[in-house]
Amino acid sequence: MRKMTYREALRSALREEMQRDPTVFLLGEDIGRYWGGAFKVTDGLAEEFGDERVRDTPISESAIVGVAVGAAITGMRPVAEIMFGDLVALAMDQIANQAAKLRYMFGGQAKVPLVIRTPFGAGVNIAAHHSQSLEAWFMHVPGLYVAVPSTPYDAKGLLKSAIRGNNPVLFCEHKLLYPIEGEVPEEEYTIPFGVADIKKEGADVTVVATLYMVHKALKAAEELEAEGISAEVVDPRTLTPLDKETIIASVKKTGRLVVVCEDCKTAGVSAEIAAVVAEEAIEYLDAPIKRVAEPDTPIPFSPPLEQYVIPDEKAIIRAVKEIV
């Protein structure tokens, strides 16, 4: 086991997969030798693998993804980086209409083994165009896989699986996660998509959380533990495919559910998870489902404003206490 940051874990996955498979290559803005990636994830990789395989692109999100699609359907395994999650909007046709649908539309003739990595999340005061959480957009597009790793261990294992898999993946990272540290095995490992992880066991309430919210949920759980409330924190790790079994088994055990996701509440990720549980396990609910999410606003700039809209431990604790 080795301690490394989330960012290092991602880099390690990229390096290992590029070493293992010559068809894997990276493209994106400022990911090459001059910058090493806006969040330094690809730092050093251009030096190691060359500028052809770690390729700086023009500022052309639509073409970045489009070129990645064209390469993916002709035998390569591209990993494209969109610098900020908010900018996926510029590439939505290539992501949702092309990458997600080519296999289906062409009757199974094509496979699109493409990974798009991008950071979502608020908390560093860079305002409305650089702070959104848009995972729900992709959960809603059939044909796409969506990963939301919350720890270095999960990030590395899932990124390797994403690259080796044959489906287009939206690999959703979080800005605040890059520096956090965690234990990562020295030896080779991958994590399959569609398998949730129980980050903390508990008996009184199930708290499903994603990305950075997993850490807030764990902190909240610690405080709740001191007050005699035992929370079970479930991290889905991938939104598509979603590990419904683990979530429902947990709800059957505790009878109570709080879903914590950073995206805006309406039609967000938490809405889908709540609906699944209500549809398939309502007989086991002993109280209404609670969702903790951002309010329906863009992310504001000034610190007190931004802090107000991001869900925090207090909000999670409050939600839990409303139903236990």
Binding site: S62, M76, Q98
Partner: protein, 320 residues
């Protein structure tokens, strides 16, 4: 003539005819309610697809559009399976999942038709990047229309291909109308080929109804690409004989204009040229016409007799 073998000329003529007869047949079948949805016929533009694809190898790639039956047939797609797909049958190239606007045959390098205008441009560039990284000498040809040249992807895709010197041939089929909108209403320039210089690549405008002219320009562009010198933009001036889609009577086009272009029918012109230059005899031409007609009939029979996919198949092939 142009150092082309007789076989090559026969092949070109045959392919143009097959496309023409195929499209006319689809037009008829639509009136018999056998074609679900709508169709965008290639009638009149045969010289572009055939001119370009005749300069390509089987392992070269093309990307196509909603008006793409011609591209796929020219690249070597089986008429039967194209027709079956258009009729929504299980035996179609896409097992009925795609339809007229999404024909694909990966075994002959047809990377599929997209219905989002301009979306194929970066995808073709991506195929070019793939070729470059794999270090083969393949090339990718990208078909798109005058309308697509205003889409952001045109700019982004060609720019990327240019700066990375990707082996792509960008073929703009300028038929003067994007759906119902005349070119002069939506851009301030006349020759889309002139945009090439903005990206630092060669751009050439050719008579899109002269199959040999298209062929010649493509051969040059392919050579350039295979040598690693980068992409070329070829603008083919051509015209659709029919409306944008099946139900469009195209009243936005002046009668004189239509008639003038019909007189420049690419198949008629090529036929005359072949006779004039004694490359082929009347009898040989008739023979090709008969064979092409029979092939189209066979395709129709095959398609009509094919079963529809089972409804539950709608749930398959979403993921690999």
């Amino acid at each position: 003539m142009l150092n082309l073998t007789k076989e090559k000329l026969i092949e070109m003529y045959r392919k143009m005819l097959e496309i023409r007869l195929f499209e006319e047949k689809v037009f008829e079948l639509y009136a018999q309610n056998l074609v679900p949805g709508t169709i965008h016929l290639y009638t009149g533009q045969e010289a572009v697809a055939v001119g370009v694809c005749s300069a390509l190898r089987k392992d070269d790639y093309i990307t196509s559009t909603h008006r793409g039956h011609g591209h796929c047939i020219a690249k070597g797609a089986e008429l039967k399976r194209v027709m079956a797909e258009i009729l929504g049958r299980r035996t179609g190239y896409c097992t009925g999942k795609g339809g007229s606007m999404h024909i694909a045959d990966f075994s002959i390098g047809v990377l599929g038709a997209t219905a989002v205008v301009g979306a194929g441009i970066p995808i073709a560039a991506g195929a070019g990047l793939s070729i470059k990284l794999r270090k083969t000498d393949q090339v990718a040809a990208c078909f798109f229309g005058d309308g697509a040249s205003n889409q952001g992807t045109f700019h982004e895709g060609i720019n990327m291909a240019a700066v990375w010197k990707l082996p792509v041939i960008f073929v703009c089929e300028n038929n003067l109308y994007a759906m119902g909108t005349r070119q002069s209403l939506v851009m301030a320039i006349e020759n889309i080929a002139d945009r090439a210089s903005a990206y630092g690549i060669p751009g050439v405008a050719v008579d899109g109804n002269d199959v040999l002219a298209v062929y010649e320009a493509t051969v040059k562009a392919v050579e350039r690409a295979r040598k690693g010198e980068g992409p070329t933009l070829i603008e083919c001036k051509t015209y659709r004989h029919r409306g944008h889609s099946r139900v469009d009577p195209a009243r936005y086009r002046p009668k004189e204009e239509v008639e003038a272009w019909l007189a420049k029918d690419p198949i008629k012109r090529f036929r005359e040229r072949l006779l004039q230059t004694a490359s082929l005899t009347e009898a040989e031409l008739r023979q090709i016409e008969v064979e092409a007609s029979a092939k189209v009939e066979e395709a129709v029979k095959f398609a009509i007799e094919s079963p529809h996919p089972a409804p539950e198949e709608a749930l398959e092939d979403v993921y690999a």
